[in-house]
Symmetry: C2
């Protein structure tokens, strides 16, 4: 369900200079720059996409940077709170997925394999009538659901047998 990440990418992600730079981002966001935070933020930024906490820990472990799971949950919660990372609302998979907050884009979710794809956002979604709103909108995205190309292929193959 995820393309493999090269070891080279992972090694770049934990380069001390890079970590120091990202540490500045953390301080700018109002967080103390600690190693677990630098590592997790760096790797999520390096590999991109929509990842679970366990994905991130697993990748870090591949380059001998092991962290307790609890630390990762704490760190991700902090990053989310200060707005460096957002929960990917796409849902579908069991685990909660996160992505670095960047320019707006929408999401396509495959109903079969649950993979999440980014869709460039040319236009932001329409804002509904004031009186329908149950609160204060802070951001919005479109979620497209359907079958990704791979799963379309699998389904047609199954139907032709």
């Amino acid at each position: 369900m995820h393309e493999p990440i090269s070891l080279a990418t992972l090694r770049v992600a934990i380069d001390p200079e890079r970590l120091a730079l990202l540490g500045d981002d953390l301080r700018a966001a109002g967080l103390r720059a600690t190693r677990p935070r630098e590592l997790l933020y760096s790797i999520l930024k390096a590999i991109g996409g929509h990842r679970s906490v366990d994905d991130l820990l697993g990748l870090l472990a591949q380059v001998d940077e092991t962290l307790p799971r609890m630390s990762a949950y704490n760190v991700i919660a902090d990053l989310e709170r200060v707005g460096l990372v957002r929960r990917s609302g796409a849902g579908g998979s069991r685990a909660v997925l996160y992505e670095v907050k960047a320019d707006n884009h929408h999401h396509f979710v495959c109903r079969s394999c649950q993979a999440v794809f980014d869709i460039p956002a040319d236009t932001p979604p329409a804002i509904p009538d004031e009186h329908h709103l149950p609160g204060l909108i802070e951001e919005s995205e479109i979620i497209y659901r359907g079958l990704c190309r791979d799963c379309v292929a699998i389904e047609t193959a199954a139907n032709d047998e």
Copy 2:
């Protein structure tokens, strides 16, 4: 996080006549009309909203209709497969939530209490450029994120102390 459901509503949901009617829906969708399916479909339809499997079992238990959890998961998976029920993509809460498939609407998710609200859909979201698509779109919705009125009140109260 959920307004309580009245016992009266629950009793209506398990009325034998109603179940028989919904049984027709099940058969029309290509499923055999069994009691667990009628019960779960009926109660989700009766109470509306976005519910987890355990929510539904708990409500049924209140009117002495207990089902094994495994049955509920099987039933919901079947209902989803034939399109009577959809996974609510809103995410946020730990459990997967389901809703009966009805006319299109969008969702507002509170980032604090994770409550999900329906927003009437006047217009369907725009379809992105063909060549950006990673597959076949079957449906789409807009997800608005922010703070619901209750949580806005809580936050302003906390800031004023």
